[in-house]
């Protein structure tokens, strides 16, 4: 399933991995929000894979934080996956600037992210 650079994969352990490819901003924020809300409503732990993402802005951060709050409210794991050395530094930069890393579960490998969300909402 892929639309607007947003695709969905499922891990063998039942985690939804939402992959954001390319640039994401106000033009894709509503689609992302809707996709994340749907998965959380299903009771599925979610990893948002930002490793192939070249740009995000505050509209995307808003969608991610809204989903994080919903997931925590339902006792579901929710985490972001950000590569250690992305070709485009925008994703890590905006997480650093907004000081979200301490608040938002951010992992650097897919296996660590999958393990983290299966541990529950507070897993880091």
């Amino acid at each position: 399933m892929k639309a607007s650079g947003i695709s969905l994969e499922r891990s063998e352990t039942g985690v939804a991995v939402v992959v954001l490819e390319g640039d994401h901003d106000l033009s894709t924020a509503a689609a992302l929000r809707s996709r994340l809300e749907g998965l959380i409503a299903e009771g599925v732990p979610v990893v948002v894979d930002l490793t192939p993402t070249t740009f995000i802005d505050s509209a995307i951060l808003d969608a991610l934080l809204s989903a994080l709050r919903r997931a925590r409210g339902q006792g579901l794991g929710f985490a972001a996956l950000i590569g250690e050395s992305p070709a485009e530094p925008a994703v890590r930069r905006i997480f650093e600037l907004t000081q979200l890393v301490p608040l938002f579960p951010v992992l650097s490998t897919r296996s660590a992210a999958l393990d983290a969300v299966l541990s529950g909402p507070e897993a880091r």
Partner: protein, 148 residues
């Protein structure tokens, strides 16, 4: 480069419908400007984040219920700074309206954090102008300290 010294003709001028999909068009155009200036990737990233936020404000708030233009000008006069002006012909600037919806209200804070200087003003005859000044060779350590 003071504003008084800005050449009449900018290096970049875009006039686009103020729609969400056109914010990416602005970023793409900034890539072209950066190529000409041989900017470091992190400098371009900061400029793109700030300019995107300013454009997003226009898309979200300048023209409630109607269409209107998003205007972006950029000057790279002396090679040490880039001045980018994002303007609209909308209903004027109301900080409350521009911080209560999408984007966590972080847009203006990000702009202020990432630019050397920002000025937000009203345009004669209506509309809002966000004028941002970026250093093209910023001290990355200084920039890190300005986290929100």
């Amino acid at each position: 480069m003071s504003d008084d010294l800005l050449p009449e003709r900018p290096n970049l001028r875009l006039v686009l419908p103020a729609r969400a999909e056109n914010v990416a068009v602005v970023r793409q155009a900034l890539n072209g400007v950066a190529e000409g200036l041989a900017l470091e990737a992190f400098t371009l990233t900061d400029i793109k984040i700030a300019v995107s936020e300013a454009c997003t404000n226009v898309v979200l708030h300048a023209y409630p219920g109607r269409e209107g233009p998003l205007v972006v000008d950029a000057w790279a006069g002396d090679g040490e700074e880039l001045v980018v002006v994002v303007r609209d012909r909308g209903s004027g600037f109301t900080p409350a309206a521009r911080t209560e919806s999408a984007g966590l209200g972080l847009g203006l804070a990000l702009i202020a954090s990432l630019s050397k200087e920002v000025h937000i003003g009203s345009e004669p005859g209506g509309g809002t102008e966000v004028r941002m000044r970026f250093r093209l060779d910023p001290d990355r350590e200084d920039m890190e300290v300005t986290s929100l």
